[in-house]
Symmetry: C2
Subunit: 203 residues, 2 copies
DNA sequence: GTCTATATCCAGATAGAC
DNA sequence: GTCTATCTGGATATAGAC
């Protein structure tokens, strides 16, 4: 292994650490209140060095978005290994409930990012957050379609919307139990769906 | 009318204008990105004069919260004049759908404020946003209780959560039609509720 | 490639003239 | 009560030494 290879690997490692720290800290503190120094500290990288890897703060936000996108791809990839679509959707709800504590403290990472980026003037990063949410919606819609239910797109909006809503309420009221109770409700709803209750899946 | 009375009225008027402008601009631009100057300009008040009425930016945020709180009280007060609880809830959904364009552009004022204030370190204003949401939840819960439905608190979380979720999705995807479609779904759900479908009101 | 020192900018807040 | 001029702090970003 040459020196330049080692250097490149260390460089890539720092970049990875910065990306992971950005995703974590931006979620916890919010985009506007997080400074480059905060992220550098969390990643254990000297503050001034950050600009070698990311030319602007916006690039760090982009990297955080990509990180969340990768997490979502990983999650749906695992769920896809389950045999039936209904089981996949119920496992998705289970994942949400499993993250109830972080949701109650900081909200859904994707949802809060979308809200914050919508207010941010620069670039069209709000649209990128929209794309991330859209890709979750698409995956959910595919499951409903496989189940042969009518209006799978509408059902996807209902399910993902319920998730965003319960995350926001759990966060605003600082009560993780809201996630548990609403999760149970969603699971019951999913179970009842194929038997013909598809007419009024809401709220 | 004395001079001091006129003065007081003009002063109160400026304060009112600043409060209204704060509620509007903070919703549109977000708390962190909005400067005192932005609010002063929107209220047509000289920038340096703001500090006579509000000693800190936080006080302006508080005033905006109070403004939203007043709006909510006014809305529920009008709805309370409707004869039956089901009609009140359906009218509430209708109000939400009626605001679909502003929701798709800027999100639900209360919800986005709650998300932003949660990230804001200073004070416990996040809890105040929680109280505002809680007061809406309480009013909704009262309607469900009057209808004699089981678990009115859970139903309130489901309905308000659905509203927050559909607002966030409409905003992230910039699509007001999401509000229309989800509103229809909620109305159908409400209509079906008293007839015994109360078992699975979700998502 | 790494890091320090610093330039630049801008928002919040204040002092004090009118 | 009203408004201007200014202070101050903090954050992004850059220049350049190592």
């Amino acid at each position: 292994m040459t020196d330049s290879t080692k250097s490149r690997e260390r460089g890539a490692d720092k970049r990875r650490r910065l990306t992971a720290a950005a995703a974590r800290v931006l979620h916890q503190q919010g985009v506007e209140r997080t400074t480059i120094a905060d992220i550098a500290h969390a990643a254990d990288v000297p503050v001034g060095n950050v600009y070698y890897y990311f030319k602007t703060k916006d690039e760090l936000v982009q990297a955080a978005l990509a990180e969340h996108s990768g997490y979502l791809a990983e999650l749906t990839g695992e769920l896809d290994r389950l045999p039936d679509p209904l089981g996949r959707l119920k496992a998705l709800v289970g994942t949400w409930v499993g993250q109830r504590d972080v949701a109650a403290r900081y909200g859904c990472p994707t949802g809060t990012l979308a809200v914050e980026l919508d207010k941010r003037a620069e670039g069209d990063m709000d649209l990128e957050a929209g794309r991330l949410i859209r890709s979750l919606l698409d995956w959910v819609e595919r499951q409903f379609r496989e189940l042969g239910l009518p209006d799978p797109g509408g059902l996807a909006i209902a399910l993902v919307g319920a998730y965003q809503g319960m995350s926001l309420l759990a966060n605003a009221l600082r009560d993780p139990e809201i996630m548990t109770r609403e999760g149970n409700r969603l699971t019951r709803w999913l179970d009842a769906l194929p038997d013909g209750a598809a007419g009024h899946p809401n709220p």
